[in-house]
């Protein structure tokens, strides 16, 4: 057995330079491990002879008896990492042939030689910290400038907004004055018309009611085949025009639905169950015993070469639609679309830029309403855009506005939300 031979030698070496403590124990926990006394697991679960500490067998549930070996599944190993930052690693990384601690203390018996890189890492870290401090200082100065600009800008904008709102208010007052003048002038004519209108409607309503009643009783008699004064399901089933799902027969469910819908007092079943039935399912196109070719698959294929009609296009359409919804302001695009149900991709840029659709004071209100940080230090990002170009796509990030992905080689832009 190599282990018992190696252990004393190694621990002797270690103890020469450090405070004497069992392997893998931090300085703070040092006092729990006293060689002269039995060891009590740190969770208090049991007490063992000190010989059993770091003897490569797990006795404590919390793993505290094996701080320096891999014996306990829940144990932790402490590396001092002199020259760098001390660190705890899981016991499972002790002697696993992978260098985890920069001081190489975790690999003392695995046959793997790790170099002590703590000094190097410490130096690097200090350099990095110094650099970061410099950057932070510069950044702080920049932030002060931005905050100042932002507060100035905000004041300007608020002033402009106040002026605009003032102007709007006076204009609205003007409108109000004019309108009340108009209404006063029109008052006699309006009253006369209303009286006339009311009479006319009363008369019409009475006629309508009479006709409706006649028709309803007629219809009822037609349905009530057996003349019992009640419409049964069977009677309804004789009327094919009520066949919702178009399968040629009127199922009992359908009949029930009609019974529910057609007559007041029976409001159940407002939804038509037949409509959603029989939707196509993906397995339907399978060839006998074989498979549906992947090319027909609804899944978008990655990286299709140009010759193949790319299903990706459809996919992106979909994404676009979703993106639009998320973009809120649902009414505005509808107006711009002029009632078109779908919108060709080439037309998007016409209605996309929202600012075109908005009056200046709405824009200002929106801008002022954003949270630009406690001191407005992020205000300068508004109306800025940043681009990242990768292999296939150009990504565009406009803070407080939108993120998008555009294929490099043509194709529609996708809103990433």
């Amino acid at each position: 057995m190599l282990l018992p031979l190696l252990l004393p030698v190694l621990s002797a070496l270690v103890s020469a330079v450090e405070v004497k403590r069992p392997r893998g124990v931090s300085l703070t926990n040092h006092h729990f491990y006293e060689e002269s006394k039995p060891f009590t697991c740190l969770d208090g679960s049991s007490t063992i002879a000190f010989d059993w500490v770091n003897d490569d067998y797990c006795d404590c549930q919390d793993g505290s008896d094996e701080p320096g070996t891999s014996a306990c599944p829940t144990g932790r190993f402490h590396c001092t990492n002199a020259g760098y930052r001390p660190q705890y690693i899981p016991s499972s990384r002790v002697n696993d042939g992978v260098c985890d601690c920069c001081d190489a203390t975790d690999e003392y018996n695995s046959g793997f030689v790790c170099e002590n890189t703590c000094k190097e890492m410490g130096r690097k870290e200090r350099e990095t910290l110094a650099q970061m401090a410099e950057v932070a200082r510069e950044g702080f100065q920049l932030k002060q400038v931005l905050i100042e600009e932002a507060s100035k800008g905000r004041e300007d904008k608020q002033r402009t907004l106040a002026e605009l709102q003032e102007g709007k208010k006076s204009l609205e007052e003007q409108v109000e004055t004019l309108r009340s003048g108009k209404e006063t002038a029109e008052k006699p004519e309006k009253e006369a018309k209303e009286i006339h209108q009311k009479k006319w409607e009363e008369q019409k309503a009475a006629e309508m009611a009479a006709r409706e009643q006649a028709r309803a009783s007629e219809a009822f008699q037609e349905l009530d085949d057996d003349g019992d004064g009640l419409v049964s399901v069977a009677e309804l089933q004789t009327h094919a025009e009520l066949d919702v799902d178009g399968d040629g027969t009127l199922s009992e469910t359908e009949a029930q639905v009609w019974r529910g819908a057609a007559f007041p007092g029976a409001q159940r079943g407002a939804a038509f169950p037949g409509g959603q039935r029989g939707m196509a399912f993906p397995g339907g196109r399978r060839s006998p015993g074989g498979g549906v070719p992947r090319e027909e698959a609804p899944e978008p294929q990655p990286d299709l070469s140009p010759e193949q009609p790319a299903p990706e296009d459809d996919y992106e359409e979909e994404e676009e639609e979703e993106g639009d919804d998320e973009e809120s302001n649902e009414e505005e695009p509808k107006v711009a679309r002029g009632g078109a149900v779908t919108w060709p991709s080439w037309g998007r840029s016409l209605w996309r830029p929202q600012s075109l659709q908005q009056s200046p004071h709405e824009n200002l209100e929106k801008e002022i309403s954003f949270d630009f940080g406690p001191q407005g230090e992020f205000a300068y990002l508004y109306s800025q855009c940043y681009e990242l170009t990768t292999n296939e796509y150009v990504y565009r990030l406009c803070p407080f506005n939108r993120v998008s992905q555009k294929p490099k080689h043509g194709g529609a832009e996708t809103n990433l939300g």
Partner: protein
């Protein structure tokens, strides 16, 4: 022994060879006596010419011959007219060949010639028609030919006067010569927009078998269905034709990615196998005389002392080739496995890391992504051995290359993984982008290695890279060249820790008929694709595995995952169940699918953990990690369109559950490795249906929601959404099973209801077994190499137990070539646990030792002593828990290779 059979109708002579094989097998080979052209006989599947035995004629009369088959007590009665063979043991009929007279052999013929003497039909429509047709035989002189040792050395068989053919069934008369017109589709067939030119006309072959006394049949994968085969009367038969099926349906007999034409039949008395060696499209029709009967009906039959013996009839049919059937006569399940793997080879012993956990996805985007995933496993303290790269890592789906933007420094990436003692697997598919700027394509084309169209030009199909050529892997020169592509100087940036995945090797052709290659495409030697189709995927994996072997000078064991497979694929690596989906039923069916593969020799099987298509919710994902932890190949994989699902992305609680499942796997790696070694040695499946170990317990015959690993562990993973408990069947009269988590003892046989929580993976160790574990789970299996073992000794009611452990370096062939291994045997009896060598040939130094022995079902001893040869007895500390009867022996500390004994006093 050779015989001639004559088609009664068209007088075409067939040659029947009947060969007794060592190990209780019989081979029946039927070919045309003098075909117009040679017919395809499947090469490279049998590991050697099976050694033959003497067939002795033990009796004869004017229409039959009785032969004795070796020393197993089996007799074969060969009847001349009508032709049939009946196999008996003692006086019991075991199996009949051609009992329904469905022997079917479409002889090669000239086109438009007038002997359209018989029904011939395209395979697709075969089943609708067919009344078969052939008979007659004419015993010939005992073949003096090699192998088929004829009995009766000299005097030719006393002239069997039946040299004249005898007609039999009336029905076939109606199919007689007067039937002039050729069946439509015999010489050309159109499927959708695809036309199969069928230049050789109809060539199909078929034969039927009956299995009296058998109600349970298994095998003939790959189908997404239950373990026990169903009868196919009134529907399509089972189809064997390797296909890339998009979003396959479950509980369906459609063909999938791979094929193994081996069917097993089992009853309480015996197990036997029918191996139909044919690589063409094959259909298997199964019928049973008890299929329609209810249990009540069967009981009624029984009470009336009558009814028929239950019987299963099996009919095989292939589109081309010859009839070459091996009857594996068992009689025990383990005998059938031994027989089949003696023919086609045993499971290759995988490198240890391949049995550990694999993390895959289509795709890890770039080197940073790989680094982050690798780091993630350490940050979250979850073990992982391998990270996989799917097709997007290549330069435009040109295999053997790297996307230089996403993977600018693959060698550094592999090096970083190696420093963590982890591996990588990259995908190399067998379709090659047609691109004159792509070296691999240019070489294959200039060497003439592509599969050709029927007109002789290079066949091109559509696959991931767009237009692609398909290397002809049936050509040994092509395979040699392909193997050379994996050498470190050919495959850019490849390193020792890079292994390979062969996908799409059915082959998948997006624009081909049924997403595969035209049947009239041409391979080396002029063979049609129709002849070799089911063999293509095996050859791809074979060539790749050879490449990985060769790059290390033959030292290192390869790891290659393949989607397509055939009989014998077990020699080359692992397979998985293809593109499944994130659904509960898909997870559930992974068990019978892998069990079916295990029964036909392919033990290294798994399913995409989490499901390939769609995204699993946290519950399904956790359950799938638990299921996968106890299946041989353990890889999480996901479709490009699914959301990311690395184990730490589902919250702390789920992460802990997944971590626990993966850790259970790692702790059991020594047992997995040993079980794989047994599979490699003796052909026994790693993952087993219960009936394999409990062959006379009828209850086990249809169970496929639980299974055994080796013979010691029984697992019933939770596969139901929202499960509160599972019903577990514990088999074995008078046996006991111990819950591996709680160590609670259960008596068997019983149906046990086990309440479950999200952390439960119900698993039991058989009383009487010893299972070795490594309980110091680390970040990868390689990191655990030096770690000590814990032995779990589960006592039988008699207070005994037995088990073993196989150890080698975990990755080379030295265990085979230099006997560098340790095979240890442990046994417990008379309160003493003894360790000795199970195989003195193996010699190997392992640094590992035994840190703990846990004895389940033990009383409290007064003292425990360890004894080693030549040393004084030492006392061991121990702990005993009276409630669970678990005795834990502290730190025996002996080397795993040492002989020792521990006695409880």
């Amino acid at each position: 022994m050779k015989l001639q059979l004559i088609n009664e109708v068209n007088k075409v002579p067939l040659l029947l060879e009947l060969v007794g094989l060592q190990g209780n097998m019989t081979r029946i080979k039927i070919n045309e006596l003098s075909p117009l052209r040679p017919r395809y006989e499947v090469p490279d599947v049998l590991v050697r010419d099976p050694p033959t035995t003497w067939l002795a004629v033990t009796g004869r009369d004017e229409n039959s011959v009785e032969l004795s088959l070796g020393d197993s007590g089996h007799k074969l009665i060969l009847t001349g007219k009508p032709f049939r063979m009946d196999l008996l043991q003692g006086r019991e009929l075991v199996l009949s060949v051609n009992p329904r007279g469905l022997l079917h052999f479409e002889h090669l013929r000239h086109r438009k010639d007038s002997f359209s003497d018989k029904v011939s039909s395209s395979v697709g429509s075969l089943w609708d028609k067919i009344k078969s047709l052939f008979y007659r035989e004419e015993p010939k002189e005992p073949a003096p030919e090699g192998g088929a040792a004829g009995e009766e050395p000299e005097p030719a068989v006393p002239e069997d006067q039946e040299s004249s053919e005898k007609s039999t069934k009336s029905e076939e008369v109606s199919d007689g010569p007067d039937r002039a017109e050729e069946e439509l589709g015999s010489w050309e067939e159109t499927f959708k927009t695809h036309t199969d030119s069928k230049p050789n006309g109809p060539t199909s072959v078929g034969l039927d078998f009956s299995l009296p006394g058998f109600e349970h049949v298994y095998g003939i994968p790959e189908h997404a269905d239950n373990l026990r085969l169903r009868t196919t009367e009134g529907g399509d038969p089972y189809r064997l034709y390797n296909l890339d099926v998009f979003q396959y349906e479950l509980y369906n007999l459609m063909a999938l990615y791979g094929s193994v034409p081996l069917l097993l039949a089992h009853n309480t008395q015996r197990t036997l196998g029918i191996f139909w060696l044919n690589a063409a499209e094959t259909w298997v029709d199964i019928s049973s005389n008890t299929a329609g009967k209810t249990l009540f009906g069967k009981m009624l039959d029984y009470m009336h002392g009558g009814g028929e013996t239950p019987q299963t009839d099996v009919r095989w049919m292939s589109e081309s080739g010859i009839i070459d059937v091996f009857l594996l006569l068992g009689p025990a399940p383990s005998d059938v496995f031994r027989q089949y793997t003696a023919l086609t080879g045993t499971q290759a012993l995988p490198p240890l890391f391949a049995m550990a956990y694999h993390q895959s996805r289509w795709n890890y985007n770039d080197e940073e992504d790989v680094a982050a995933v690798d780091e993630g496993f350490d940050t979250h303290d979850i073990p992982c051995d391998v990270i996989w790269l799917d097709i997007e890592h290549t330069d435009g789906k040109r295999y053997f290359t790297w996307d230089t933007n996403k993977f600018p420094q693959p060698r550094n990436m592999l090096g970083r993984l190696a420093a963590k003692r982890r591996k990588m697997v990259s995908i190399v598919d067998p379709h090659i982008k047609v691109d004159s700027g792509y070296q691999v394509h240019n070489e294959i084309r200039s060497r003439g290695f592509y599969v050709k169209t029927k007109d002789g030009s290079d066949y091109e199909g559509w696959c991931w890279p767009g237009s692609a050529g398909y290397p002809d892997f049936t050509n040994p020169e092509m395979r040699t060249w392909w193997a050379s592509m994996f050498s470190y100087d050919q495959y850019e940036a490849s390193m020792e820790n890079l292994y390979i995945w062969n996908d799409m090797n059915e082959p998948s052709v997006f624009n081909g008929p049924e997403v595969t290659m035209y049947k009239d495409a041409l391979h080396q030697g002029g063979w049609e694709h129709r002849d070799v189709h089911n063999l293509y995927g095996l050859y791809v994996q074979m060539a790749t595995a050879q490449g990985l072997e060769q790059r290390s000078g033959g030292l290192e064991r390869p790891f290659v995952l393949s989607r397509a497979f055939f009989a014998g694929s077990q020699r080359y690596g692992a397979v998985w169940t293809g593109d499944n989906a994130a659904e509960w039923d898909h997870m559930k069916i992974s068990i019978p699918m892998c069990l079916s593969l295990a029964l036909v020799g392919i033990s290294f099987c798994g399913a995409d953990v989490g499901g390939f298509f769609k995204s699993p919710d946290a519950e399904l994902l956790v359950r799938w990690y638990q299921v996968g932890a106890y299946q041989p190949f353990y890889r999480a994989h996901a479709h490009l369109d699914t959301v990311r699902r690395e184990p730490w992305l589902f919250g702390e609680e789920n992460k802990a559950l997944i971590r626990a499942a993966i850790r259970q796997r790692y702790a059991l790696l020594p047992y997995w490795y040993t079980t794989f070694y047994h599979s490699y040695r003796s052909g026994q499946p790693v993952m087993r249906p219960l009936w394999v170990e409990y062959p006379d317990d009828v209850t086990t015959f249809s169970i496929d929601d639980q299974f055994l690993i080796g013979n010691a562990l029984l697992v019933h993973p939770v596969t139901e959404q929202g499960a509160q408990g599972v019903q577990i069947y514990l088999p074995g009269k008078g046996e006991v099973w111990y819950d591996v988590h709680s160590h609670q003892k259960h008596h068997a046989p019983q149906m046990l209801y086990m309440p479950v929580t999200m952390s439960s993976i119900p698993a039991y160790q058989r009383g009487g077994s010893i299972v070795p574990r490594k309980e110091r789970v680390r970040r990868s299996s390689d990191c655990m190499y030096h770690d000590p073992y814990t032995l779990y000794v589960a006592l039988s009611p008699q207070g005994t137990a037995e088990g073993d452990l196989f150890i080698d370096d975990g990755h080379t062939y030295n265990f085979e070539s230099k006997a560098q291994y340790l095979h240890r045997h442990f046994s417990f009896a008379s309160n003493t646990l003894t360790a000795r060598s199970a195989d003195s040939k193996g010699i190997f130094e392992s640094p590992a030792w035994i840190e703990r022995v846990v004895i389940l079902g033990a009383g409290k001893p007064a003292a425990v002593f360890l004894r080693q040869p030549g040393m004084a007895e030492t006392r061991l500390d121990f702990q005993h828990e009276p409630e669970t009867s678990v005795l834990t022996l502290r730190k025996p500390g002996v080397n795993i290779g040492a002989n020792w004994s521990i006695s409880l006093r």
